[in-house]
Symmetry: C2
Subunit: 363 residues, 2 copies
C-alpha cells in the first residue's frame, strides 16, 4: 500500500492521531475557505438522480463552459479526474527524456515522471530568496540540462512555497524554450486563488506557443476536492493524443455538470476575491507577529512557515496543534525542506484566529 | 477526439439524432433497472457538504465494506475510477506479452491491451453455439497461444452476448493456466446482475490461485454509472504494485461512501433479484415471440439480438426506434458481429412492453 503524505488526508491522520474527521479544523489542504457555494450545492443535489446515466465521456458541456470561462477553444481542452490524471497523461503522451522541476514542489510531479520513465532534475529554490525563482538562473539551468523534446514543469503559484512567477518572466521562459524545442508545462491549480486570478494565467499565450502546456483543477477554487476535476490546455495535436490514451468516463457526472458555476456564480467569485485579499494579508501579518516563525510571503491561499525555535520540529508542533483541534501540513517531506517547515492554509477569520492563538501557545 | 462507441452515450447520440436526454428510454446501457435505491439517494444527498474534503486516497471505509460483502481481506482489494481504471492499471502492472480474449467482447479490453503494448488474440465465440464459450476448445487455444506470464481476459457474464460460464468450467481454466503460469483475468462487472449473483463469482477461489485476477464495478448493480466506481481483487503483491502506479484520489468522496449500501440495503438487493429473474425471462420470451429476430438466451440484464429480415440493419432500426423515444445499442461494432446485431437492456415491465411494441412495429 502506497503511503500518502499529502495534506488533506483526514482519514489517515485521524486514524494515526485519534481524532474524528469532523472535530478538526483542517489547515493542511489548500482549498477555497468559502466552502461550496449555494448555487453549486443546489446544482449537485439536483443531479443526484441523474447518476443513473453514464457521464458524457467527452465532457462536452463542461468543456464548453470552460471554453467560455477562459476564452480557449473547446478543442484545446481536455478534462480528467483531477489535475493528477492530467499530469500523468500528459507526461505519458509527451514522453520527455528529461524533466526539470523547481523545488520544493508538489510530490506528484516526480511520481508521475518516474512512472513515465523520465529523468528528473530539480532546480533548487533557495531559502535566502524566499524560495522564489530567479528566472535568469533557471533559464540557464534549463539550457544546460534539457534539449529538444525535454520538458520543464513548474507550479504557478508554487506549492508549498506560495510564490508566484510573473507573466513577463514566464514569457521569457517560454520563448527561450521554444527556440530549443523544450516543452513548458505549468500547473496553475492555484492561479484562481491569487489576487488577480485568471489575469495571472498564461492561458492567453496558448495559441501563440505550441510548446506551452497548462493544467488546472476546478475543485480548489470551487471547494469540492472530494468531487475530482481537473483539465489541461494545449495544442490540439497533444489534446487528441491524450484523449486516445485516457481511460473513458474518468470524470463523473456531477463533475461534468459544475462548469456553469464558473460562468454564472459571480457573487461567489467576488466573495472569494474579497476573502482572499483580506485574509491572506491578515494571516501573514499575524503569523509574522508571533515571532519564533519565519513567514514566507504568500501569493495564494496557503503560507509556508519555518520554525525558528531550536527545539521546534514540524512533527511535535503538528501533534500539539492536533490536541487543540487544528491540523497543519507537516512540510518536512518536501524536497529541500526539513523538519523545520510547516504549511498552513488561509481560512476564514474565525479559524485563522484560532490558528494564531494555538500557534502562539504551542511555540 | 476519440469517438466513443459505447452504449449509454446519451450526450453524443442525442446530438446526432436530435432528442433530449430525458425524453428517451435508454436500452443501450446495462444497469440495474430499479434505479438508485432510496437508501443510496439519502446517503448521497447527505454527503454533498463533505465534498469540501479530499477523498481518502486509500478508500479504507469502502474497502472494509467490500471486504465484508465478499469475504475477501481488505489488502486484496483495490478501488478505482470504474472497472476501466482497474483493467488499464492491471495490464500496466502485469505487462503480459500476449493476451487471449474471447470475442465478441467489451471494446475497452483491446484498447487497454494496445496501450499496455501487448499482443491481442481473439478466441471467436461462434454464433451457432449461441456465442457461448466451449471451454475445452478455449483451453486448447490458450495452451497454443500463450505461455508463462501471458494472460487470458474474459468477461463473465460476457458483454454483449449475456452468456455466463459456470464456475466448474472456470476452475478447469484457472487450474490449467496455473500449471503454465498463465494469468486469468475475469471481468465480473455484471455478476451481481445474474440469478444467483455473487454465488456465480470466482471470488472464493482468490486465496487458492495466485494467477486469478477479478475486477468488478459497483455502479451497475447500484445503478449509479455516473458516479464511477470499480475495484479489483487479486494477490496482495499485485494489489501493492497497482497502488504504486495508480493516480491518487481517483475515487471521489461520494463513491468512497457508498459501500455500506452493499451490506445494509437488503431490501434493494432482494427487489433486484425478483425483478431480474422475472423480467429477463419475460423479455426473452416476448422478444422471441416477435419473429424476425434471433434472440440469444441471456444470463444477465441485457439481451443480444440478431435481425433476421433481409433488409434490416442495426443502424436503420436504431433510427426508427429513436423516433419512438427508445435508444438501443447498435452492436455492429463489436468484433465478429455485424450490422445485423443489436443489444437491449432488461428494464422495468412498462419500459420492456414499450420496447416490444416499438420493435413489433419497426421490424
Amino acid at each position: 500500500m502506497e503511503k500518502s503524505m499529502h495534506g488533506g488526508d483526514l482519514y489517515r491522520t485521524s486514524q494515526i492521531y485519534g481524532f474524528k474527521e469532523n472535530e478538526i479544523l483542517d489547515f493542511s489542504s489548500n482549498i477555497n475557505a468559502l466552502g461550496l457555494s449555494e448555487q453549486l450545492k443546489e446544482l449537485l443535489h439536483a443531479r443526484i438522480d441523474g447518476l443513473v446515466n453514464y457521464p458524457d465521456p467527452e465532457c462536452n458541456e463542461l468543456r464548453e463552459e470552460l471554453s467560455q470561462y477562459l476564452g480557449v477553444p473547446k478543442s484545446n481542452i481536455i478534462t480528467g479526474n483531477g489535475a493528477s490524471e492530467m499530469i500523468y497523461l500528459l507526461l505519458d503522451v509527451l514522453k520527455p527524456n528529461k524533466i526539470l522541476i523547481p523545488a520544493p514542489c508538489f510530490s506528484e510531479y516526480s511520481r508521475a515522471a518516474l512512472i513515465a520513465a523520465c529523468d528528473v532534475e530539480y532546480h533548487e529554490l533557495k531559502e535566502e530568496n524566499g524560495f522564489r525563482l530567479n528566472m535568469n538562473e533557471f533559464i540557464k539551468h534549463m539550457n544546460d540540462f534539457t534539449g529538444a523534446d525535454d520538458a520543464v514543469l513548474l507550479c504557478n503559484p508554487n506549492n508549498p512555497t506560495s510564490a508566484m512567477i510573473s507573466k513577463s518572466e514566464l514569457l521569457d521562459l517560454v520563448e527561450s524554450a521554444q527556440e530549443k524545442e523544450i516543452k513548458i508545462i505549468i500547473d496553475e491549480a492555484f492561479i484562481e486563488l491569487t489576487v488577480g486570478g485568471n489575469k495571472n494565467s498564461m492561458v492567453e499565450y496558448l495559441n501563440q506557443f505550441n510548446n506551452l502546456y497548462i493544467f488546472r483543477a476546478l475543485t480548489k477554487i470551487l471547494a469540492v476536492p472530494g468531487l475530482r476535476l481537473g483539465y489541461a490546455l494545449c495544442s490540439r495535436d497533444v489534446i487528441n493524443e491524450m484523449w486516445k490514451k485516457k481511460i473513458p468516463w474518468s470524470v463523473n457526472s456531477l463533475s461534468c455538470s459544475i462548469g456553469k458555476v464558473l460562468n454564472n456564480d459571480v457573487q461567489y467569485f467576488a466573495a472569494t476575491e474579497a476573502w482572499l485579499s483580506e485574509e491572506k494579508e491578515w494571516l501573514f501579518r499575524e503569523l509574522s507577529g508571533i515571532g519564533k516563525l519565519k513567514v514566507f510571503k504568500p501569493d495564494t491561499n496557503f503560507i509556508l512557515l519555518k520554525l525558528l525555535g531550536k527545539e521546534s520540529t514540524s512533527d511535535i508542533l503538528k501533534h500539539r496543534l492536533i490536541a487543540e483541534g487544528i491540523l497543519i501540513r507537516d512540510a518536512s517531506n518536501f524536497i529541500y525542506l526539513n523538519e523545520k517547515f510547516i504549511r498552513v492554509a488561509v481560512k476564514d477569520r474565525e479559524s485563522n484566529e484560532k490558528l494564531i492563538r494555538a500557534l502562539t501557545m504551542a511555540l
